[in-house]
């Protein structure tokens, strides 16, 4: 099973133009911020939205002109959307029934899939008697029970609370890995989901693909600011030079070159927010770090167990950075928006990668 999709569609000012391909058994993650066009892309693949310029080929079979119910796709949304008037079992049996299975056959199929997602004990319950995590498991079973050739997952973990998400993620991992011929497209804004579930990833911004490649590569060594922001990493674009990267302003950012990086070619320096240290301006910085620059605090906000500090955009590499600090450090330094600071990044924490052509233009 091979998926080759070309989706071109317009809605008002928004234009979506995406080419997508995947091999059988593979999972493609589609990453992007809100409004990037992820869900629209999924709806086009499912046939819920249509445009004349869209072509979806599965093993040479053209789906673009088929209505949704003829496409053999499965769709799992952020919300489980279990039919409230049917029991859990009948929800899962709905697809097989629609495909022409007898009542008994359909219920047998439903039983198998409920067992596969570990939800057989809820079979006779009504959807409103399930927790969010349970309902999403059942919704997954329902989507899989039609044996879809193309499985579309639209932020399947986004609506689950922190306790339920890991279990569902693990379940998806098992189910998706065991698929032999299915192609799965996973839409998410969470790099963790993509890393856990997807073989390849593409990053969508303003309706266009700005980066694609193996998931791990896209998220650990992003070549574009979009991907970097999605991965939660800092990214500085420039030119590869001996010992690091030269920014357009002429500053040198020391770092470790990736293998095969040619000097004097476009490159990006990538480092994690946790690798950034922040000091009050004018105070001496301990040691003799090579990467030191001045910046002004733009925002201070909690981010999980740490505090994320964002600097004001400026010409230098220290503009628009994020740094993760402990709450105690933030309190000690009295960091408030507008405060001048000195930021320091250890050279060993900076990776310099070849840039894709797209990243040469640094955009917001």
């Amino acid at each position: 099973m091979t998926l080759r999709a070309v989706v071109r569609a317009a809605r008002g000012q928004f234009r979506l133009s995406v080419e997508l391909s995947a091999e059988r058994g593979h999972v493609v993650a589609v990453l992007g911020h809100n409004g990037a066009g992820k869900s629209t892309l999924l709806d086009c693949l499912a046939g819920l939205l249509r445009s004349d310029e869209t072509s979806v080929r599965l093993d040479g079979r053209e789906l673009g002109s088929l209505p949704p119910h003829r496409r053999r796709v499965g769709l799992l949304r952020q919300r489980p959307l279990l039919f409230p008037h049917l029991t859990v079992r009948d929800n899962v049996a709905f697809g097989p029934r629609a495909a022409g299975a007898s009542r008994r056959q359909a219920r047998a199929i439903a039983g198998r899939w409920l067992a596969a997602v570990g939800a057989e004990e809820y079979a006779d319950r009504r959807p409103d008697q399930l927790s969010g995590g349970q309902a999403q498991r059942v919704a997954l079973a329902r989507a899989l029970a039609t044996e879809p050739e193309l499985l579309l997952l639209d932020e399947p973990l986004a609506a689950l609370d922190a306790d339920a998400a890991p279990a569902m993620r693990a379940l998806l991992r098992t189910v998706l890995r065991s698929a032999s011929k299915r192609v799965t497209v996973l839409v998410t804004h969470d790099p963790l989901d993509a890393l856990a579930l997807a073989d390849t990833a593409l990053v969508l911004a303003d309706g266009r693909v700005v980066e694609r490649g193996p998931t791990q590569r896209v998220l650990s060594a992003p070549r574009t600011p979009y991907a970097a922001r999605l991965a939660g990493l800092n990214l500085v674009a420039g030119e590869a030079v001996e010992g690091g990267l030269r920014t357009p302003d002429g500053d040198l950012l020391s770092g470790l070159h990736a293998e095969g990086l040619e000097p004097h070619t476009p490159a990006v320096a990538v480092f994690a927010p946790s690798a950034v240290s922040v000091y009050p301006r004018g105070k001496s910085v301990p040691g003799s770090p090579r990467n030191t620059a001045e910046a002004v605090v733009a925002a201070v906000e909690p981010h999980g167990p740490v505090i994320r500090v964002r600097t004001r955009a400026s010409g230098g590499w220290a503009g628009g950075l994020t740094a993760d600090l402990t709450p105690a450090a933030v309190a000690d330094l009295a960091l408030d928006p507008g405060k001048p600071v000195t930021v320091v990044v250890k050279a060993t924490a900076v990776d310099v990668h070849p840039a894709s052509s797209l990243s040469a233009a640094r955009s917001a």
Binding site: V73, G74, R77, F83, F94, A98, T146, L152
Partner: protein
């Protein structure tokens, strides 16, 4: 002193609202009470079991039942199509609610000019099939359906649009064609608002007067429903009219109660579960 640990809402509506609220309630309750005071309970059984009363009651129940059925058969598809049209929904909706804002007598005249002997459809029916609609029980059913259907369509249309089409989209990706989606997803989800729509239409059909008398006339056991009988009796025997009014109220309350409190509550909510 007993203390109750049951949780209750700490919000209260402003006291000032209670006065107009009480006046509003009184406006509904007091006239009905006034009617009750006028009922001659000694003669009540005799008045209600007269042939004319029994005929009117039977005719009312049968025609209101038939017109409600017609409302469902035509109104449900209308509401579903209406809620999903891409363009012109507002205009169509305005047309559908026309019988609500139109005086029923005008509705009766409109029906007469369509299906009467000189109306184009009525003329065709007469010439081609030898069917004449006015002055028949069928005319009563048509008049009632005309005025009652908007109630059904509106409660369904609101529910469909409030509920969105997410369930239908999921069903489509599960391989269900449009008809299966309609029968196995849309329709079952619409049952609660449909039930309230049915109650409303039945009640409206039961109370129909103006369109019926204009389009169907008034003849015992054929077209003279309870409201028409009340009107006719008001000319001759007010006691009898009062007794019949009481009967009409009792039937209406029975319908509401039979429909169940949950359904009555949904009449105004109309949202999907």
């Amino acid at each position: 002193m007993t203390r109750d640990s049951t949780l209750r809402s700490g919000l209260r509506s402003p006291r000032l609202l209670w006065i107009p609220a009480a006046a509003g309630l009184a406006l509904i309750v007091l006239p009905v009470a006034g009617l009750l005071f006028r009922v001659d309970f000694a003669r009540l059984p005799e008045l209600l079991t007269s042939q004319a009363s029994l005929d009117a009651l039977e005719l009312s129940l049968v025609t209101a039942g038939l017109s409600t059925l017609l409302c469902v058969l035509l109104g449900v598809p209308l509401a579903v199509v209406l809620a999903r049209v891409r363009r012109g929904g507002r205009v169509l909706r305005a047309v559908v609610v026309l019988p609500l804002v139109m005086p029923p007598v005008v509705g009766g005249l409109a029906l007469l000019y369509l299906l009467g002997r000189n109306g184009f459809a009525g003329y065709l029916l007469d010439v081609v099939a030898g069917v004449r609609v006015p002055f028949t029980t069928a005319a009563v059913v048509l008049a009632q359906t005309f005025v009652a259907m908007p109630f059904l369509v509106i409660s369904l249309d609101g529910a469909i649009r409030a509920g969105g089409d997410e369930y239908e989209r999921v069903a489509a990706t599960l391989g269900a064609g449009p008809w299966v989606v309609f029968t196995r997803v849309t329709l079952p989800l619409l049952l609660p608002p449909l039930a309230s729509g049915v109650v409303l239409s039945f009640a409206r059909a039961l109370g129909e007067f103006g369109a019926t008398i204009t389009f169907a006339g008034s003849l015992q056991a054929v077209t003279r429903t309870l409201p028409l009988e009340v009107y006719a009796q008001a000319e001759a025997d007010v006691e009898s009219a009062v007794a019949l009014s009481l009967l009409l109220i009792v039937v209406a309350i029975a319908v509401i109660v039979a429909a169940g409190p949950r359904m009555t509550a949904r009449v105004t909510e109309g949202a999907r579960p």
